[in-house]
């Protein structure tokens, strides 16, 4: 008899423990979102991520649900998620609407490019994954990093080049994440007079006269190495091309406006300062 009482109590207490630690099954969409989930220590609850979520390296072991603008409703549901956290950049998406309709909560995270948005992202995700305390600590750390950024303007002209296979090389103008990051680092975007990403033109490049070229590892791979970069139209006739002044950045860290962005902006500034400029 006593054994039954014990067993019942044991079972009951197990159920209570289970309920207290009811784990979410999270699908995360957006590289910045996934990074914050890891930083808050919620990665054990992560069952799926999109193809832009490649940081930290451990995230690459998580099921990939494909590109954020080409999602599959059934694919996401097959992971039996209890929560979907998605960057606003995946909007508008009928797929996410359908998932909501099935009764799975979908939390949207701002897709704006600005330092002030990082803390908002952290708190929204922190609330969604029930880790408000960790979110607070992470915000404090981010605030420190942002406070350390020197906002003073440097007279260094830079151009961000984006290159993907199958399209012409693009330079980042106003309204892009790269432009925002360049300004936050106190540098001058030499292409700040055009909107969005524009195809690179020879004369435009020469007229813009950048002191430094910024690009990422993928672009260097697409262009076919650093030597080929300096052979791009007009580049050899710019100050950057004459002195071979190039900064290769981590694209997700600098342009994702996530937790590593303040540090990436700091690095960009200190690297740019070491170069010759007009």
């Amino acid at each position: 008899m006593r054994i039954w009482t014990f067993l019942t109590c044991f079972m009951f207490s197990m159920v209570m423990v289970f309920q207290a630690n009811a784990k979410e099954r999270i699908v995360s969409i957006g590289g910045d979102v996934t990074e914050i989930i890891y930083a808050l220590g919620a990665q054990d609850e992560l069952v799926g991520r999109d193809s832009t979520s490649t940081h930290p390296d451990a995230a690459q072991q998580v099921q990939n649900i494909g590109y954020m603008r080409h999602l599959s409703t059934e694919g996401i549901l097959s992971l039996k998620p209890t929560l979907v956290i998605s960057s606003n950049l995946a909007q508008p998406s009928t797929v996410l609407e359908q998932i909501k309709k099935v009764g799975i909560p979908v939390v949207f995270i701002s897709g704006k490019h600005s330092l002030s948005v990082i803390n908002e992202k952290i708190s929204t995700i922190g609330n969604a994954v029930h880790r408000q305390k960790e979110a607070k600590a992470l915000q404090d750390k981010t605030n420190q990093n942002i406070a350390q950024l020197s906002g003073s303007k440097l007279p260094i002209r830079v151009i961000y080049i984006m290159a993907h296979t199958g399209m012409s090389n693009l330079v980042a103008g106003k309204g892009t994440a790269a432009d925002e990051a360049i300004h936050a680092a106190g540098l001058v975007n030499a292409m700040g007079n055009v909107m969005n990403y524009q195809p690179m033109s020879q004369e435009g490049m020469i007229a813009a006269a950048p002191d430094v070229i910024i690009t990422d590892q993928d672009a260097i791979k697409t262009i076919g190495g650093e030597e080929n970069l300096w052979k791009l139209p007009g580049l050899s006739l710019t100050p950057a091309g004459k002195n071979h002044q190039l900064i290769i950045i981590d694209q997700m860290a600098l342009l994702g406006f996530g937790i590593h962005t303040p540090q990436a902006i700091q690095d960009l500034r200190s690297k740019a300062q070491n170069f010759k400029h007009g």
């Binding site: 494909g66 999602l71 694919g75 097959s78 099935v102 892009t176 909107m195």
Partner: protein
């Protein structure tokens, strides 16, 4: 109507039925048979089956019908095996409207902005159709001139889409390029029901024109002496097939290949009697798109492939084989 035709009809209907059953059972989520009949809206498996998989199956069938029938009609009208809905500029007109909707910022309520590409594509294709209709009066029913008009519309839309993608930002550009690949993933019952009704009714009306389409193959003069009202027939068929294309493009983006190859393949096997060609093409198109979409949504799960890539991948080699086989027989 010969015995062969009935044999093909029965055979294709069987294949379609098997494809539907298979497609209902295949997917990223494993659904037990019981979930198909649970009718319980609280049951998540029933929800997935009824709200996600079933509408998609129906949509694949009706879009497949729309693409292949409109292709068959265009080829019959222009007496040119290379004519297809893309040729008249209807698809590109729809594409242009979608580009405008995606790139030019508009303050709209959320539920409209979600369906904006669909609405825009339909308005765009309807606009081009009406334009073609008006111009067909001006060109006095010369279909060859109408083809030139189509080419001009294509060129103009292409240039305008180019300008729009040039001024668009990163996110808009990606949406545009994905829409161009075609997908049946953005389905809702409301859209599926509207599209199915439009496509079914239009296809039935087109079938009534089958005999007149056959007479048109003899040349306009002969058809006229045989009592066909040439202009009226051509115009009605143009509008009807444009309606099919407009509906298809607005719901699923641009899915190539089906409208061009299916009717041609059926013609190779059965000859060009439109009374047989139209229904057989409709069924074949439905089967091809259903199979392609089932593969598209399962092969890289939990992600998904654009179905337009698969229709070409599946269809091209088979079409090559068919052409060579015919060559050898001749």
């Amino acid at each position: 109507m010969d015995r062969r035709y009935h044999g093909y009809m029965v055979g294709l209907l069987l294949i379609l039925l098997i494809s539907v059953i298979a497609s209902a059972n295949i997917g990223a989520v494993h659904l037990p048979w019981s979930s198909f009949f649970s009718f319980d809206s609280q049951n998540i498996e029933w929800q997935i089956w009824f709200n996600i998989r079933l509408p998609r199956i129906i949509l694949a069938i009706v879009i497949g019908i729309a693409l292949s029938v409109s292709g068959a009609v265009m080829q019959g009208l222009f007496r040119n095996p290379l004519a297809d809905p893309g040729l008249l500029g209807i698809s590109s007109g729809a594409g242009l409207a979608v580009s405008v909707a995606l790139v030019i910022p508009m303050a709209l309520p959320a539920f409209i902005s979600l369906w904006l590409p669909v609405i825009a594509a339909f308005v765009g294709s309807l606009f081009v159709t009406i334009l073609i209709f008006k111009l067909s009066y001006l060109t006095k029913g010369h279909l060859s001139r109408l083809l030139l008009v189509g080419i001009a519309i294509n060129a103009l839309s292409g240039a305008l889409v180019g300008i729009l993608s040039w001024v668009s930002n990163d996110q808009q550009l990606r949406q545009l390029s994905l829409w161009g690949m075609g997908s049946l993933g953005q389905t809702k019952w409301s859209i599926v029901i509207i599209a199915s009704l439009l496509i079914t009714v239009t296809t039935i009306i087109i079938q009534c024109y089958a005999t007149r389409l056959n007479l048109l193959q003899l040349g306009e003069e002969d058809a006229h002496y045989l009592g066909v009202d040439i202009q009226k027939t051509q115009r009605s068929l143009l509008i009807l097939s444009a309606l099919l294309v407009g509906t298809a493009v607005s719901v699923s983006g641009i899915i190539g290949f089906v409208g061009l190859v299916i009717p041609n393949a059926v013609r190779l096997i059965l000859g060009s009697d439109h009374r047989m060609l139209l229904p057989i093409s409709a069924l074949s198109g439905a089967i091809l798109l259903l199979i392609a979409d089932t593969i598209a949504r399962t092969v890289v799960q939990p992600a998904e492939m654009p179905v337009g890539l698969l229709t070409s991948l599946l269809g091209s080699p088979w079409f090559f084989w068919l052409i060579f086989k015919q060559q050898r027989e001749e």
